[in-house]
Amino acid sequence: MDFFVQLFTDPVAFWNSHTLLIAQIGINSIIASSMFIVLYSGQLSLAAPGFMAIGAYTAVLMDLYWHTPLALNIAAGVVLAGATGVLVGLPVLRLRGVFLAIATIGFIEALRLGVILNLPITGEGLGLKNVNPDPLGGIYLVLVSLAVVLFLMWRLTKGRLGAAWAAIRQDELAALSQGINVARYKMIAFVLSAVLAGFGGALESHLQTFVDPGDQQYGVTRAVQVLSFAVLGGSGHFVGPVIGALVVTSLPWIFVQALNYINVVTGLFLIAVIVFRPQGIVGRGGLAIIRPWWWPRRNVHAPSPG
């Protein structure tokens, strides 16, 4: 509870002592947005950590070997992640549901275990040292980026693209009957999600002193964590996964005593949410839990993931 006390009574001090947390929340929110796009279009892709790794390693390697400016490094990471997204997306987008999830897991682990851990240039198992990390200053870049990303998400869901994605998620065959080129739109979502994940990964690496190829960072464990953002927060509205990221990332800081049992709590949350409130905390944009009495009520049902 001291966490909240400080948050509300002395925000400045809170900011200073929790910079890392806030930055991590920001990054996780960007990655959560990556997850949002694929889930919003009905694709259960768990590929985010793979694209994050590509973004991260590219950015750090460029800095290490070519000493190029940060913006270029991140841009390169993003482009490379996007290109990989196209390559991976083409074959896997025909797959539905569980099969897509499995294929993307295959991708991230093949990338991590097969490529990253074996290429001398990535430092193999030892990870890569980042010579210019900026854990405290980087937070401003993160927050500004997050704002831009969220704006993008907001506008996309309002436009023709967002409407098409929502339709595809509900019923691909019916979407086809309305002239929606399902394959193309799914691809767009997948690549966009790869770009966002690459961006998040590159940003994250900028804040860290070294890039760690472990399971917790770019493996299935991370994929599950990112999935939990979207499940908890709900993927029917662009704010959902962000709220999910906020909650999950802050949990260990709020309940310091229960730190050890964080995973147990996360697991319980996942089961409880998926059984009792599959549309997540945010649902379809009602912020149902935190609704002031004067907020207009919409009588809608929200989709569950997948």
Binding site: L117, N260, N263, I274
Partner: protein, 304 residues
């Protein structure tokens, strides 16, 4: 090289045994039980704990370990699966609820330290341990340049017998027919008087018992027991196996298991030990892209 092939056969047997449980649940319920790898680990952990911390005889500990795994199957059904079926949730939801349960199981074991809440279950925290030598008879023979440990060798007949028994049950017994009926058409099964809920619970029990047993075999013969053995060894390889063999096909899981063991060994020999990890996933990816139904699975199609 031949030693590696032997190892491939041993580990392939474990993969196969594990994957059979995976595929059984997929075949009957059309869902992926991602808590299966946690049950694999739990079987090994419980057995170890009983022997080392509670002084039980190995064989008794094994039986209890298998029993605990079987009970865990019931937990999976009642906590993760049945509530979703009642609410007509899509199959993806079961994926998530079983992931949640897996998290809980692994984290619980991880936190098992002396003096903690779960010390009766496990005290070694995140460490990897092995059964002390002498826990079970494990003579070693040398044949040519091959080293054969009895425990590893025993995996093969045990696995084969179990898979044969399961195959027989599924193909020739009334219970097996019932499971196949539920797998093919739950509605018809209900109309024929089968208690589908009970069949599903039975499927989970069988599957989890097999998974737990695979974990015990792994832990005993390969000398590695930790909260992460499920995740590191079989969680994703299990997926690769059932994709290769065809999801829902028991013979496919068996063949897929040995196939993966073989592929990994070949990769090891050809590309060195570092490539071993990625090979499974590359195989998985390729199979999904080229032939999603695997070697023996059924074609998937949506009707309009």
């Amino acid at each position: 090289m031949d030693q590696q092939i032997l190892n491939a056969i041993f580990i392939g047997s474990i993969y196969a045994l594990f994957a059979v449980g995976y595929t059984l649940v997929f075949g009957v319920l059309d869902i992926l039980n991602l808590a299966h790898s946690a049950v694999f680990m739990l079987g090994a952990a419980v057995t170890y704990s009983l022997v080392v911390n509670h002084g039980q005889a190995f064989w008794i500990a094994c039986i209890v370990g298998i029993a605990v795994s079987a009970v865990m199957g019931l937990v999976i059904e009642y906590v993760c699966l049945r509530p979703l079926r009642r609410r007509k949730a899509p199959p993806i939801a079961a994926l998530i609820s079983t992931i949640g349960l897996a998290l809980i199981i692994v984290a619980t074991i991880e936190q098992g330290q002396t003096g903690s809440l779960f010390s009766w279950l496990w005290v070694d925290g995140a460490n990897s341990v092995a059964f002390p030598s002498g826990t079970f008879p494990n003579p070693t023979w040398h044949v040519g340049d091959l080293t054969l440990e009895a425990a590893k060798v025993a995996i093969i007949p045990i696995s084969i017998v179990l898979m044969a028994v399961l195959g027989y049950v599924i193909r020739y017994t009334q219970v097996g027919r019932g499971l196949r009926a539920v797998a093919e058409n739950p509605r018809a099964a209900k109309l024929m008087g089968l208690d589908v809920d009970r069949m599903i619970a039975l499927t989970l029990v069988i599957s989890s018992a097999l998974g737990g047993l695979a974990g015990i075999l792994f832990g005993a013969a390969l000398g590695d027991i930790s909260p992460y053995i499920g995740r590191d060894n079989v969680e994703i390889r299990g997926l690769a196996v059932i994709v290769l063999g065809g999801m829902g096909s028991v013979p496919g899981a068996v063949i897929g298991g040995y196939l993966l063991g073989l592929i990994e060994v070949l990769a090891l020999v050809a590309l060195g030990s570092s490539a071993r990890g990625g090979v499974a996933f590359a195989a998985l990816f390729l199979m999904l892209v080229l032939r999603p139904q695997g070697l023996f699975g059924a074609q998937l199609r949506e009707r309009i």
